[in-house]
């Protein structure tokens, strides 16, 4: 089974997602964050990770999923990117799974648009489906929308 690759898994609502283990720097419990005004909605704040400043992205918002219930604290999956480390906020961390990429399939058309955009493949596990997240795309959160800026300005 030389082709098998490891995926770090996590949940978001009902969804079960995975990212390649090589891209994951570490997994952390909830961390205090500094809110960034005027930032894109997906950016929840900045975390001090042992002296390194890491931007935290709310993956639920990135995927257009409903907001997390109040009082439920998210977990951090710290990802390595070309631009330094970055944290993805998720609900629960799962196991690291060995998966054969051969068994991947294209994500079905019926998935929500945003989810479909960021999921590269679906893997049929025995009991459930694993959605593979395209990390590079997921961290692509641009400048805040012009409208949001303008309205913020007017306020």
């Amino acid at each position: 089974m030389a082709n098998e690759r490891q995926f770090c898994t996590f949940t978001l609502g009902d969804g079960f997602f995975g990212v390649e283990v090589e891209k994951v720097q570490e997994v952390l419990r909830y961390q205090d964050m500094t809110f960034v005004p005027l930032a894109p909605a997906e950016v929840t704040g900045l975390i001090n990770l042992r002296g390194q400043i890491v931007t935290a992205l709310e993956l639920r918002r990135r995927l257009d999923l409903p907001e997390r219930d109040e009082g439920v604290r998210p977990m951090n999956i710290v990802i390595r990117t070309d631009d330094g480390a970055l944290s993805l906020l998720v609900d629960q961390i799962g196991d690291v799974l060995l998966v054969d990429p051969e068994t991947f399939e294209e994500p079905p058309e019926t998935l929500e648009a945003k989810v479909r955009e960021l999921v590269t493949g679906v893997c049929k596990l025995e009991d459930r489906l694993l959605l593979l997240l395209d990390v590079d795309k997921a961290v692509e959160v641009g400048a805040p929308a012009e409208e949001a800026r303008e309205s913020a300005y007017a306020g």
Partner: protein, 772 residues
């Protein structure tokens, strides 16, 4: 190539580059005083060393070239020949060629494919001139390095007042007569001095001689210093945290220890900063050559003077100002200083004066570029700014001369104009300003018509650790770099209500009789202003300087001052103009650093000037703040839009078609004393030629040291923040395509431009001139 060899070559490269930098200066100095044998000898030694080592390492081309150069230099050194402008140019060209080969050795491991026959021939010709009596040139020996001067023991003793000069002279003469003993021994024997005094003097003597430079300094990799700097930054943060913890803990021993940690950290921080400090002379070293070449090309006489070349700056800052500085100096020579005949007419000496001055002032480094040229005519600037739509008549009437003068830094002021000798300042002053502002600096211009222009740059000493004021509201804390801080005004609640007045909704405060526009921090951060105004608490006004404008930032709380370590924001947050970065506070939380310029722009304190000029309002201004390349947009032919990186653009010109001439297969124009190759962008890209017009529009671009003219149909616009990389093109001459103003635009590949120019024309044009 094995490891050992590579090391040898690397050392050779480092050494040679250093020596070559010195050469440029030496040559320029020689041109003023061609008989300075010492300088000639030093130039000779450098070339000799390069020749020797390159021969040993097997770089035959490099050896061949330096060999002819060396021969010429040896004759110059011996006084057989006199250094002329012609031979200087040839030798400088040789230095350039050596540089090119060194670059190729560094990149590819060999001295390149290019043949430097033209230079070799030229050098040989020069060497052959009047070489009647010396047909065979003996291989010259390198001169021995002079011994470092060590004071004699006798001198030391006399200096300390223990013996008289006569006594020493007596002892020395005894020595000369055959006494084998040392001077000290003779003096002790005579009872003139005590042995202990001699011992002391010997120590003093050893100290004065000092260790050689080679012993007291080592080469250190800049990467290592950067790493140390980062670590010290982290240490400063930890120190801050420990100190805060210590104050809360009330443990005397711990407090004492943390105080000690505090002191050591501060000293370490200063020490590491010092290792990164370099004299500004390192950057200035390149300028005499730049000035010389450009002055010669423009047919001007310019004397470059430098003051304060020992002024030290952090290496990163130094790197960052290198290009803007060169640009400004170029501008001063090109446009500031007039041609000799004009100067004579104006009653000034024919030789123009260009003074560079650097000095420290209140934690900042000031750099001034002063010329005694034609100066900038404020009225013309005003007229042009109105014409270009940068300001309207109303604003123009209200603006002071100084403000108007600074309009030359506005994007679109000089660039998009068709070259125009109106104010004269060339392309890219806005780019200069942007680059200087990026490192937290400011640039200011003052000028008097007929008397000259002074450009004043102020930059911080270092970028890594900066003092900041911490302000905030609620839980939020923000750091304001103290560079822009002018003063703090605290208003108690009653006072706050009374003294913050509104002019058509815009809050202002009367600061010593002058109206200070106010910005509420909450508003600047997009929060609702009502929150801030509703409670009657005291507020503080942080008076800040942004550009030429002062404004007050109204904050609810001023916490403290702190040394902060600036950390960059991730790319997801780069687009927010009001933040310059983030830092970690003593308690471990992250705080955002405010970008004072950004706050001012967002709050429209500066916007009247900055945004409306562009005519496109906020969207454009927002786009401008993002990173990206600035492009000159042209119509190549028949409406085909092409973008040219603005960084490469030197000037925009119009040439009468009658001026176009042919040199070989290349169309050229005589331009500032050189042949400017003219390429049609349309034919370069293979879609025909631009419609014939008279005059033709030409974009002059830099190619290394030389210029190439790009013939286009029309110059359209300047666009900021163009993100490249939207799919590479297979079309030669095109780097890729981008969408600019909703239209697909191809980006010109500057390398294709070089390839298209007849290479002989580029490399030889100078020699043609040199021979004339």
């Amino acid at each position: 190539m094995d490891e050992e060899m590579r090391e040898v070559i690397e050392e050779f490269l480092v050494e040679s580059h250093e020596n070559l930098d010195q050469l440029d200066q030496d040559f320029v100095a020689l041109e003023r005083d061609p008989d300075d044998r010492d300088v000639l000898a030093s130039v000779f030694r450098t070339i000799h060393t390069i020749k020797g080592t390159s021969g040993f390492l097997g770089f035959t081309k490099l050896e061949a070239l330096t060999h002819v150069g060396e021969s010429l230099l040896s004759r110059l050194r011996d006084g057989d020949l006199r250094l002329t402008a012609e031979s200087t140019t040839a030798l400088l060209a040789m230095v350039d060629a050596v540089r090119a080969m060194l670059a190729s050795i560094e990149a590819e491991g060999h001295d390149g494919e290019f043949q430097y026959d033209a230079i070799i021939d030229l050098l040989t010709d020069l060497n052959a001139a009047e070489a009647v009596e010396r047909a065979l040139e003996p291989e010259p020996e390198p001169e021995p390095e002079p011994e470092p001067e060590t004071p004699m023991l006798g001198e030391v003793l006399v200096e300390s007042g223990q013996v008289t000069e006569e006594e020493v002279a007596e002892a020395v003469s005894e020595q000369a007569e055959g006494d084998p003993r040392h001077v000290g021994e003779i003096l002790v024997e005579k009872g003139t001095v005590e042995p202990a005094q001699v011992l002391e003097a010997l120590h003093a003597q050893a100290e004065k001689a000092g260790p050689g430079v080679a012993d007291s300094s080592i080469r250190v990799d800049v990467g290592l210093l950067d790493k140390l700097m980062n670590l010290v930054g982290e240490l400063v943060l930890s120190r801050n945290q420990v100190l805060q913890y210590a104050t809360n803990l009330n443990d005397a021993a711990f407090v004492a220890n943390s105080q000690r940690l505090n002191l050591i950290t501060t000293e370490l921080q200063e020490g590491v900063m010092k290792t990164r400090m370099q004299p500004i002379g390192n950057v200035w070293n390149k300028l005499p050559r730049v000035v010389r070449d450009l002055a010669q090309a423009c047919g001007k006489h310019v004397a470059l003077e430098m003051e304060g070349r020992d002024t030290e700056l952090d290496k990163t800052v130094l790197e960052a100002i290198k290009d803007p500085l060169t640009h400004l100096v170029r501008n001063s020579v090109d446009h500031g200083i007039e041609a000799p005949e004009d100067r004579a007419e104006a009653g000034k000496p024919e030789e123009g004066r260009l003074l560079l001055r650097a000095y420290h002032e209140s934690g900042l480094v000031n750099i001034e570029i002063i010329d005694d040229g034609a100066g900038i005519d404020v009225d013309k600037v005003r007229a042009k700014a109105i014409e270009r739509g940068i300001i309207n008549n109303d604003q123009a009437a209200r603006m002071g001369d100084r403000e108007v003068m600074n309009l030359i830094f506005q994007p679109g002021f000089s660039t998009a104009a068709k070259v125009t000798n109106v104010s004269g300042r060339g392309v890219g002053m806005d780019v200069v300003k942007t680059n200087i502002e990026k490192i937290g600096g400011t640039v200011d211009v003052q000028s008097r018509v007929g008397e000259g222009t002074t450009l004043k740059i102020k930059i911080p000493l270092t970028l890594a650790i900066i003092p900041a004021l911490i302000v905030g509201h609620g839980e939020a804390r923000y750091a304001i770099p103290q560079v822009s801080l002018l003063e703090l005004v605290r208003l108690e609640s009653e006072q706050a209500k009374k003294s913050i007045e509104r002019i058509q909704g815009a809050p202002v405060y009367r600061l010593r009789g002058k109206l200070l526009p106010l910005v509420y921090l909450r508003e600047a951060l997009g929060e609702h202003a009502e929150d801030a105004q509703s409670h009657n608490d005291a507020v503080s006004i942080v008076v800040l300087q942004a550009d030429e404008q002062q404004f007050g930032l109204v904050v609810e709380r001023v916490d403290d001052t702190a040394e902060i370590v600036v950390k960059p924001l991730g790319k997801q947050l780069k687009g927010i103009p009001v933040f310059a970065g983030a830092t970690i506070m003593g308690d471990g939380h992250v705080a955002l650093i405010l970008d004072v310029m950004g706050v001012a722009q967002r709050s429209k304190i500066l916007s009247e000037l900055h945004d409306k000029g562009l005519g496109a309002g906020e969207a454009d201004a927002a786009a401008r703040r993002k990173d990206g390349q600035t492009m000159l947009l042209v119509d190549a032919a028949g409406g085909r839009r092409i973008a040219v990186p603005l960084g490469a653009v030197a000037r925009l010109e119009q040439f009468e078609t009658s001026k176009l001439e042919w040199a070989g297969s290349q169309q050229v124009v005589q331009y500032t004393g050189e042949l400017l190759p003219i390429l049609s962008v349309a034919s370069l890209l293979g879609f025909g030629a631009p419609e014939s017009s008279d005059p033709i529009e030409v974009v002059v671009v830099w190619q290394g040291d030389r210029q190439v003219g790009l013939h286009v149909a029309e110059i359209l616009d300047i666009v900021e923040d163009v993100e490249l990389g939207r799919g590479t093109s297979t079309n030669p001459g095109i780097v890729g395509s981008v969408v600019i103003q909703d239209k697909v635009t191809d980006v010109l590949d500057m390398r294709a431009v070089v390839a298209a120019v007849d290479p002989s024309l580029l490399t030889d044009s100078r020699f043609e001139e040199a021979r004339v």
